[in-house]
């Protein structure tokens, strides 16, 4: 049904969107390839190219381990936050029980309270429980602060799913859990994928907890590791290395989103509703 002119129009719009989204990114990529001597030339495309920045961050900057930490901690935190969030959101959206409002209010409270003042008490708690500078020591706060977003997003989606579907499934002999898993979850997939992507990016990019609750490479994540890069002197920011690290950090996000993006809109049109 797509006419040629429609396709051309959409391609033009796409191009504009891509330009707006990617030009500053390409600037950062260009900074990562620039030779330090040409840094101040103000050109978008580097006059002198160098791959040293990329080699340096792994060789001297020891970026490998923080990258691994980021990937694992990010995935685990996202999975846990989604699982817990799905359960809670389902209950909040579909069931009636005292404390529903409190649950939502508590989630919102946690999302609203400035994290900078929670860091020090959290630090002291983790120290006393020997969780400081460990993976669980970061996973627990990440899950906690991703839950409000996942709960709210998922409950907004669960509310939209009509009751008849569950009733129909139950009449066919399914237990509530099976009804949930085979009917509700696929329909809530857009919400789950959306919440998952947002939660993952939130954990991935966190800086405050990563820098305050770790003290060595055992648990330090990539964004925090960037602030440990050595410049040529104490006054110089190694901008090339920072830009290279940023590019490297962004690649897993791109892969993650590419894998899941088509599930964002497989909604009610997927056929479960039609007779």
């Amino acid at each position: 049904m797509a006419t040629k002119s429609a396709k051309v129009r959409w391609s033009a719009i796409n191009l504009a969107v891509v330009f707006f989204a990617l030009t500053p990114v390409l600037w950062i990529v260009s900074l990562s390839f620039k030779h330090p001597s040409t840094f101040t030339d103000g050109k978008f495309i580097p006059k002198r190219w160098t791959l040293n920045n990329y080699f340096n961050i792994f060789r001297d900057g020891g970026f490998g381990r923080p990258l691994l930490n980021s990937i694992c901690i990010g995935i685990i935190s996202t999975v846990v936050a989604i699982v817990l969030g799905v359960f809670a959101a389902y209950a909040i959206a579909r069931l009636r029980f005292p404390g529903r409002r409190w649950m939502l209010g508590a989630a919102l409270l946690i999302a609203m309270f400035p994290q900078v003042s929670l860091v020090t008490p959290l630090f002291q708690i983790e120290r006393s429980m020997a969780l400081f500078n460990t993976w669980p020591g970061l996973i627990l706060p990440y899950v906690t602060f991703a839950l409000p977003l996942t709960i709210y997003t998922l409950s907004a989606f669960f509310r939209e799913i009509p009751w008849e579907l569950e009733k129909a499934a139950k009449m066919d002999g399914a237990t509530p859990f099976q009804a949930f898993r085979h009917v509700i979850v696929p329909l809530a997939a857009p919400g789950v994928v959306t919440a998952g992507i947002l939660a993952f990016i939130q954990c991935w990019n966190d800086f405050l907890f990563a820098i305050s609750l770790t003290s060595s490479d055992s648990a330090r994540t990539a964004p925090a590791a960037i602030s440990f890069f050595t410049g040529a002197s104490q006054f110089e920011n190694p901008v090339g290395s920072i830009a290279a690290a940023a590019v490297v950090i962004t690649i897993p996000i791109v892969i993650f989103v590419l894998m899941f993006q088509n599930r964002i809109v497989s909604g009610l049109t997927s056929g479960a509703v039609k007779g």
Binding site: V80, A232, S233
Partner: protein
């Protein structure tokens, strides 16, 4: 057909969760094993320094097994370093043995009781052949709380192709810039005028050059009498003159150097790292790079003093070895490596006479001269408060009104020294 859909399916999700958590727990265990020796381990926390590992290895060799220094990283930015150290010290962390600190933190950490005092033999060794001003900056309440590691002073850097004789006062600097501007040549004088510690450093240098100081000697009251008016006046005139880069209020040390390298500036007031940086990035410019003493108000000025010291954590489990380790990490051999390879000026006088150091520091005499007259920043446990307050009040330098700004500074710095009020 339909009932088949509802057969039980394995709880895959739950399994993944368990595996994931197990992995998470295993992570730190994999790190924990492998370093179990009965040797005393001294944890050194140092900001990023390219050749620190060399120095640490040297000291480990010299220790002959009495202890082993382990190098831990601190963030690159000074504020981040202080945050990490203070948070852990306040919690009584015993994992901090030797810490590399900025000189402005000494009073604060000493007053809070988080670093140990240097006494007896350790103190004697620390003081031996150490330059006077850096040594003073490691003291608080007449006691020694840290051992000086490296020092830093600012110089006036200029281009010999644009400037024949360097200005000695700020007024001369402004006039020289004006003259260059009239000829259409590069004329900016780069200074760290952004709203951060660098602005306080600049202001402090002007104030001490005028013969005044920001706080009294014991750091309990604000000083800033009418002599400081001259300093404020100079700042304002400079910021409104042709010498000031339009980006002045967004310029930190690196931007100042980059602007100078980019060719738009004839002068810059900066630390000696610019020499090595220019040598690496712009060898052409290096041939025209010259230096001169820091300009003053009515004559030669007092250069601002920077530097780092090593302090021993209060809760360290091995203080004796920690003191020894710190002394080694800053002994002449170590300071020579830091000076030649990392561009950190030494604090021990004899190191300056080493031929390799002389070769790496053609400006060595200027540095030594500046170090003997350098102006200290206020020594008070509330230095962070004072710094935040002063940099806010003075920013942007072009809108300073000397009399009003002085009154405002006096009242707000007094509040800062008493930890009253809210910082901006």
């Amino acid at each position: 057909m339909r009932s088949a859909t509802w057969s039980r399916s394995p709880r895959r999700g739950l399994r993944a969760l368990v595996v994931g958590t197990a992995l998470a727990m295993a992570g730190p265990l994999m790190v924990a094993c492998g370093s179990n020796s009965s040797q005393v381990v001294i944890n050194l926390y140092n900001g990023p320094q390219e050749n620190m590992a060399t120095i640490v290895n040297r000291c480990n060799d010299l220790a002959h097994g009495a202890y082993r220094i382990r190098l831990n990283q601190l963030p690159r930015a000074a504020d981040g370093q202080r945050e990490q150290l203070v948070r852990r010290l306040a919690a009584g962390d015993s994992g901090l043995d030797v810490m590399d600190m900025d000189i402005t933190w000494v009073a604060e950490l000493a007053e809070a009781g988080w670093i140990r005092e240097w006494t007896g033999q350790n103190k004697q060794q620390a003081e031996q052949d150490t330059l006077a001003k850096p040594l003073k900056s490691a003291q608080w309440n007449d006691k020694l709380y840290a051992v000086p590691y490296n020092s830093n002073v600012q110089l006036l850097w200029y281009r010999s192709d644009l400037v024949q004789s360097p200005p000695k006062t700020w007024d001369e600097l402004i006039n020289a810039s004006d003259a260059l501007a009239k000829q259409g040549k590069p004329h900016y004088a780069e200074v760290t005028g952004a709203q951060y510690e660098g602005l306080v450093v600049w202001f402090n240098a002007l104030v001490t050059s005028a013969g005044d100081s920001i706080t009294s000697d014991n750091g309990k009251k604000v000083a800033l009498n009418d002599k400081a008016l001259q300093a404020l006046d100079v700042m304002k005139r400079f910021a409104n003159s042709k010498a000031a880069d339009p980006s002045l209020s967004n310029t930190q040390e690196q931007e100042a150097n980059l602007a100078f390298q980019g060719g738009g500036a004839a002068f810059q007031l900066n630390w000696p790292f610019v020499y090595a940086a220019t040598r690496d990035a712009n060898p052409e410019l290096l041939k025209k790079l010259r230096w001169a003493p820091y300009p003053g108000i009515n004559g030669p000025g007092e250069s601002p003093l920077g530097g780092a010291v090593f302090a021993i954590g209060k809760y360290s489990k091995h203080p004796k070895e920690a003191f020894q380790a710190a002394l080694c990490l800053r002994d002449p051999g170590s300071q020579k490596i830091a000076a030649v390879k990392d561009g950190l000026p030494p604090t021990i006088r004899s190191v300056y006479d080493d031929p390799e150091v002389k070769a790496a520091y053609p400006m060595r005499d200027a540095i030594l001269a500046a170090l003997s007259t350098a102006g200290e920043r206020p020594r008070t446990p509330f230095y962070q408060n004072v710094s935040t307050t002063v940099s806010t009040v003075l920013s942007p330098p072009s809108s300073i009104k000397p009399r009003q700004t002085l009154d405002r500074l006096r009242s707000e710095v007094t509040d800062a020294l008493n930890s009253k009020g809210v910082l901006p």
